[in-house]
Amino acid sequence: MSDARTRPTTANVSRAVLEGPDIQRALTRIAHEILERTKGAQDVVLLGIPTRGVTLARRIGERVARFEGVTVPSGSIDITMYRDDLRLRPARPLGRTELPADGIDGKIVVLVDDVLFSGRTVRAALDALGDIGRPRAVQLATLVDRGHRELPIRADYVGKNLPTAMSEKVKVYLSETDGRDAVVLIKEEDR
């Protein structure tokens, strides 16, 4: 476990639970597991859920290609329009949906997200997939599973199981979007 440190910009107490190398190792393991479970990643399509799931899908795809020389198409699927909590906040900007040219019909779609929490995002993603096509199977990969599921959903590939309290927040930083790799656990202090 990495050293705990306090971020001076907030009144909250933050602790990095995964650093860069931890994340790299977790993604490598997930890539291997996908190859193993799907028997060589034939017909696999990696679909990331914006924003960081898309980056993670791309990284996993690169690893699969490096290990076995197969090109796994990756893309993104925005689930905003399928959320069940739209009315709790002002209308949100949409993320990008970019599907591989061959589509998803008959494919094994691996959804990729950064944090698995209530499962509602994944539920929305499954609905979105249903409107786009008919995959042969859908699997789920997540960098962090922090528990507290509210729906009967579980991940097929998990980078790290992270026990958390409901009041805590998990934030994933990736170098492509945030300049560094880290998973940070934020404890909200009473103020």
Binding site: M81, Y82, L86, R87, R89, A91, T97, D127, I132
Partner: protein, 310 residues
């Protein structure tokens, strides 16, 4: 975004770009076999049309239905509804029905403003008198951007009956917000006396402006206007301000031709120009559904906003 979309002038640059970007994403949905999103399930959109406009009504109806909203079409045309008292009574009826959004088309400028005073739902102006038609301007901007890229610095020429055109008013405001340079070309009789205070240039010389235009938007000119002496004859209007093949040839190669419809072929636009590949007229119809989906999503797809707050 504010709670209503009544004037293109209500949109900040960020608002306008958000709508266009949202539409860009939603354009994909129109190409799927399942052209439907569950987003506005349980929300009610009322199309309140006091003026005939099948095209605009169908466009809004398709947009709302693709977002899974319940759509109620209320056509006041033909019934005894025409006076203002009825607008208020109609508003109270809609209020009682719990309409989340009311899309209103009315022959009186300002009718959507009045309606907004009387109902709680979001008001979308689908054309009010000779005032504004903001979703038309948004779909025009969207069509331009898809053809030409970002609109900053682009030169847009709008030609025709500006005085009576809600399309022109909304386009001038929105395009100025988006950084385009707008030039209005019309006979002086068909420009408002105060047009000098608008954020655009004015010219009476179409041929002089065409070579410097990235977009030429032709407005519908009603033949009846000549009876009120706005111009002497259809023939003279067409000669001085109509877009024919010769004039099309004077435009830069990349420039596009737009028309909000319905067209008077042979009057403001020659048939061969309307049907040329430079024309976006058919795309404008497709883009109309997409942009209206974006507007309805951004107005209704989140928590209800308190009286126009951010």
């Amino acid at each position: 975004m504010k709670r209503h979309l009544i004037s293109a002038g209500d949109l900040s640059r960020d608002d306008a770009l958000l709508i266009l970007d949202t539409a860009e994403e939603l354009a994909q949905v129109s190409q799927r076999s399942i052209k439907k999103l569950p987003t506005l399930r349980g929300r009610t959109v009322v199309n309140l049309f006091f003026e005939d406009s099948t095209r605009t009504r169908i466009s809004f109806e398709a947009a709302a239905k693709r977002l899974s909203a319940d759509v109620i079409n209320f056509s006041a045309k033909g019934s005894s509804v025409s006076k203002g008292e009825s607008l208020k009574d109609t508003a109270l009826t809609l209020q009682a029905m719990g309409a989340d959004a009311v899309v209103i088309r009315h022959s009186a400028s300002g009718a959507p403003h009045r309606l907004a005073e009387w109902v709680d739902g979001s008001i979308v102006n689908a054309g009010d008198g000779t005032h504004e038609h903001p979703t038309q301007a948004l779909l025009d901007a969207f069509s331009m951007r898809r053809r030409l890229g970002p609109l900053d610095g682009r030169r847009v020429t709008i030609v025709g009956d500006v005085l009576h055109s809600r399309v022109a008013r909304s386009n001038v405001l929105l395009l100025a917000t988006l950084g385009a340079q707008v030039t209005l070309v019309a006979p002086p009789t068909l420009l408002p006396v105060s047009v000098g205070s608008w954020p655009c240039e004015i010219s009476y010389d179409l041929d002089g402006v065409l070579p410097k235009s990235d977009v030429v938007m032709m407005l519908r000119v009603q033949r009846e206007r000549m009876n009120a002496a706005f111009f002497p004859s259809a023939r003279e209007y067409s000669r001085r301000y109509g877009l024919d093949r010769d004039r099309l040839g004077r435009m830069p190669d990349h420039a596009v031709v737009m028309h909000p419809g319905p067209m008077n072929r042979g009057m403001e636009i020659a048939a061969e120009v309307a049907d040329s590949p430079r024309s976006t007229i058919v795309e404008q119809v497709t883009n109309g559904v997409t942009i209206r989906m974006a507007v309805l999503y951004l107005l209704l797809g989140g928590a209800e906003l308190e009286g126009g707050a951010q």
